[in-house]
């Protein structure tokens, strides 16, 4: 099984990496979210939080603190899954039930990217993801 992050990590120049990560996650998350739309579109009102502050805070807490703590406590796979599930619950509570799909995709892909590429790249990818997602 090929890790999609390995394909993304080889991209040149370096700023293509977060853009590609964000677009790949969007392409997987939007269809899953569409199933959960049930015909209704969601319009987010808190755009500043959603696009700028939210990504930085979420990445620092969920990736840097929570994921590292869970992996150190329970091991690699349970830690990854636990972090993804907690992130799904968080997304569902804060942004609305359809965004659990985004929580699942980002919880897995961004965690893998956090291991291989580091926190700044993941924060940039999250900001791009939220910006595109708010226009969608």
């Amino acid at each position: 099984m090929i890790n999609p992050i390995d394909i993304i990590a080889t991209l040149e120049p370096w700023w293509m990496v977060p853009i590609a990560l964000a677009l790949l996650s969007l392409g997987i998350a939007i269809p899953i979210r569409a199933i959960m739309y049930q015909g209704n579109f969601i319009i987010l009102r808190k755009r500043t939080w959603f696009v700028v502050i939210g990504p930085i805070v979420e990445e620092i807490f969920f990736r840097l603190f929570l994921l590292m703590f869970l992996i150190g406590t329970f091991g690699l796979i349970p830690g990854l899954l636990g972090s993804a599930i907690l992130y799904m619950i968080y997304m569902g509570l804060v942004y609305g039930p359809p965004f659990t799909a985004d929580g699942l995709v980002m919880g897995v892909l961004f965690s893998l990217a956090f291991f291989e590429l580091g926190l700044p790249i993941v924060i940039m990818a999250h900001i791009i993801y939220s910006a595109v997602s708010s226009v969608w």
């Binding site: 999609p4 590609a20 677009l23 969007l26 899953i32 569409a34 319009i43 595109v132």
Partner: protein, 152 residues
């Protein structure tokens, strides 16, 4: 202003289309319009009605989003990014196009269940157009398709 010059160069570069032994030189905007009309007719046959855009109202559901921003973002995400990233993942162009078309179809389920099949066919046609002519042609085809459904 540099980016405008580049955009003009991209838009004024003729695409070569070979059809029934004849080679046509056609601008990407015209080729996109033709593909958009063809896919619109296919959609109408598939839905067995003249399809009308269900989107109306605010910023994310209005006409501007249907005609301009929606197609550009969708083509960038589903064609430019997904096909480019899925080709090394699957080691196959055809499977990458099919996978991106399937995701594109699923993403249009909110507009109605039949839109899944419609989006699948549209995604496959646009995927091959992207592989052949680049990202400009699918964007214009998508804009034409949505414009027709907005007018109709």
């Amino acid at each position: 202003m540099d980016i405008l010059v580049e955009l003009e160069q991209i838009l004024s570069k003729y695409a070569e289309v070979t059809l029934l032994g004849h080679t046509f030189n056609i601008l990407p905007i015209e080729l996109g319009a033709v593909l958009g009309i063809i896919t619109f007719v296919i959609s109408c046959f598939l839905m067995s009605q003249i399809i009308i855009s269900p989107m109306s109202g605010g910023w994310r559901t209005g006409a501007f989003h249907t005609i301009v921003t929606g197609p550009i973002i969708e083509e960038i995400v589903f064609r430019f990014a997904l096909i480019t990233l899925l080709i090394p993942f699957f080691n196959s162009t055809i499977i990458a196009i099919a996978a991106s078309a399937l995701l594109f179809g699923i993403a249009h389920i909110p507009y109605g269940g039949l839109k899944l099949a419609d989006g699948l066919i549209f995604g496959i046609i646009m995927g091959f157009a992207f592989m052949q002519f680049g990202i400009v042609v699918p964007i214009f085809a998508h804009i034409t398709h949505n414009l027709l459904s907005e007018i109709g």
